[in-house]
Structures are given as C-alpha cells and as structure tokens.
Symmetry: C2
Subunit: 217 residues, 2 copies
Amino acid sequence: MYSDGMSTSERLIEATRELLWERGYVGTSPKAIQQRAGAGQGSMYHHFTGKPDLALAAIRRTAADLRAAAEAAFAGDGTAYERIAAYLLRERDVLRGCPVGRLTMDPEIIADDELRAPVDETLDWLRGRLAGIVQEGLDQGEFAAHVVPGEIASAVVATVQGGYVLARATGSPEAFDAGVRGLLSLLSPRPPGPAEPAPPSFFHATAPLQLPPHTRE
Amino acid sequence: MYSDGMSTSERLIEATRELLWERGYVGTSPKAIQQRAGAGQGSMYHHFTGKPDLALAAIRRTAADLRAAAEAAFAGDGTAYERIAAYLLRERDVLRGCPVGRLTMDPEIIADDELRAPVDETLDWLRGRLAGIVQEGLDQGEFAAHVVPGEIASAVVATVQGGYVLARATGSPEAFDAGVRGLLSLLSPRPPGPAEPAPPSFFHATAPLQLPPHTRE
DNA sequence: GTCTATAACTCGATAGAC
DNA sequence: GTCTATCGAGTTATAGAC
C-alpha cells in the first residue's frame, strides 16, 4: 500500500507492476490493484479505461526498466565474453522470476497483441544486443569461428529465462547459477585454472571473468 | 469436451491437464474444468476434494508423461552429445510451452508444497539424468575436461525452458530452435562442416548430429 | 478526481434430492 | 454417482453523488 508523494495514477501503475510480477495478468484483479494502490474503484476507472489499459502502462514501464538494467551490464568496456558474463551474473531477484518473461505464460497476454508487443520487443531487443556483442567477440577471435551470433544470443537469453524456472521449481537460486555457469564454461575462450599458460601475443584471448561468490541465495 | 469411453474422473483429470497447460492453475476454474469434461459440479466434488486435489492428480500425470518422453530421447545408443541433441531436438509443441515448467510461474503452485513437489521432482530428475550423460561424455573425452556435468545439465534444461519463453513472446518457434542450435554449437566436440579433417584415431570425437530441418514451425 | 452504490456475473464449495 | 440449488465472496465494470 503506497502513501508516498506519488500521484494516484502513479500508485496504480506501480501496484499493477508488482502484482503482474507476483501473480501474472490472469491472477491480478482490479480490486487487488486498488487495495495495494490505496485507491478506489472510481480513481482507477478515471485514469484508465480498464484492466488491460492499466496493465499496458505497467508492462511498458517494466520493459523499459529491464532494458536499462541490461544496458548497464552491456555498457562496460571489457571483452565480449566479459560483457556477456556481466549480463548473466548481474544481480537478480531470481526467485521472483523475470517480470517480463513471466508474462509469456499468461494466456490473456499472449492472446492480446497490444499487451504482448512490449514483451516481444524487449526480448527481441535483448537478443539483438547480445548478438551484436557476440559478433564483436567473433571479430576479435574470442569465440570459435563456427558459432552464430543470433543463436548464441538466443541461448543466453533462454538460459536466463529457463534459469528462473529451475530456481522457482526448487525454491532456491542455485539451479539458476548452475545453468549460467554451465553456459559460461561452454562460451569461455579457454578453461579457467591457475596452471594456465600465457596466451601467445597474436591471440586475442582474455581471462574469463572470475565467478564472484555473490550474495543472493 | 470429452465423450469417449473415459470414466468421469478420467475426463476430469484430462480436462484439468489441458487447462493447466493452457491457462495455468490461477487461470483455471472448476467450472471450466467441468464444462470441458462434460461433468457437473457434483461429479467433480464426488471424485476429488476440490480444485487442488484435482490439479495434483493432473500434474502428477503430466509429469510422468514428460519424464517418459525425455527418457525416450535419452535411451538411444549414440554418444552423449547425440543423446543430448536428441533430447533438445525432440518434437515439441513449442508455442504451447512446457506443461510442467509453466507451473513454476503460478503463485498458488509455488505457495503449495504439495503442488510444487511433482514439478520440482520432474525437473530435478531431468537435470540428474542429463548430468549423468554429460559425465559419460566426459569419461569418453567427448567434452572439454573443465565442464561440470551438473552445470551443463542445468544449462540444457534452462535453454529448453527459456526457449519456450522466447517462442511464445515472438509467436514463433524460431527463437526456441535458435537457442537450442546455439547451445549445441557450444557443446559440440568440433565445429560442423564438410571440410572437416578426419580426427586422429586416438581421439574419441564423433560427428555432431546433423540438425534436421524439422517440421514444426 | 475521488467516492459509494449497484449491476450482472463468476468463484470455489456445500447440501441434499434423485 | 450425478444432478440442481444455493451460498457468500469476489470480478469487472457503470452510474452518479460529492
């Protein structure tokens, strides 16, 4: 229940964002939104034409947030591998799932092109951004020459989205982390280890990111 | 709506399975189940104590089916890589999503340990089975020595689960296939291509499965 | 802008006739 | 075993007072 300096319509959008994340579209009722926002029926229907309209505003904002968070991970100046690793290892509320990806399991989101569009565009942007980084890595000789940027990008995003599924099934973020580590170990220019010989100077290899013992869990 | 030789309780379970797959637990009402099963309120509450009880029966059956389908892909006598590829490339109703995995996004499934248990156990079994196959591949020198079986297994299952997310977001199975191809290209003992030199006889490498232009899509 | 009132319906379940 | 009737609560809104 919000009581801050937010306007009523702001509070309605924020409450909807939370509930869509927690319970999905089908599982979220206008009444629940109003209660969490501290607003009456009339307020909601004054500012929005109905549940789909409000959900659209909420989804667009959540999509923009996710994009910004991903961009922050990509924006570093490391190697392609390091930037992909930074994205995969960025802090996440693993057990809450992906606020955008989870919407794809909602029948009424998928059935409504207007509600599905921001979800589609966000994941599409993410794959495109990752594909570009993989291409840079290929140009630098960081990855095996036969890999296809768009395919690696899809595998990266899928590993994240599927990692949420595994984590929620087990009730622990462990499986998410395991999947990410597995993918990174396959993507890594060379295996980790202290007994590593120095790479020849003509080879553009870089040390893989050390996996931090992160705080989550 | 079923009218076959199925008993009423069978029809209720099958109808529930379909609806859980299409709409999830929160999105599935007893009334919808009864209508699809062609049964009245009284029948449902005679055979089952309520919605959770019926859902549990449906989920257990769906979990058993998924396990059997996966086992069929694993049971082949190819290399570890080939059996993992067979699992990843097996026919799927990609746009319908995973009937087990999708349940993890349902707040009421996750909140109820009895309903979550079969989901958890199924995905856990799947990861364990895959980890065993990766270990076999390691023993045969099929994979890079530094990979960790449990991590690769998690990445494989996550890629599938996340592939469903991408496919449903775009409305096409293409992104699912791309992710799977990407993961296989990273896992592949050596890059594909006709100009491949024959491996030295002491090396256990095997040709990667040709990706079939499969019928889905 | 926000509130309450009301509508027509569905929710998950129980009771009891047949 | 299956049916209909009924329950109290919740759903998605509209209407209209303030």
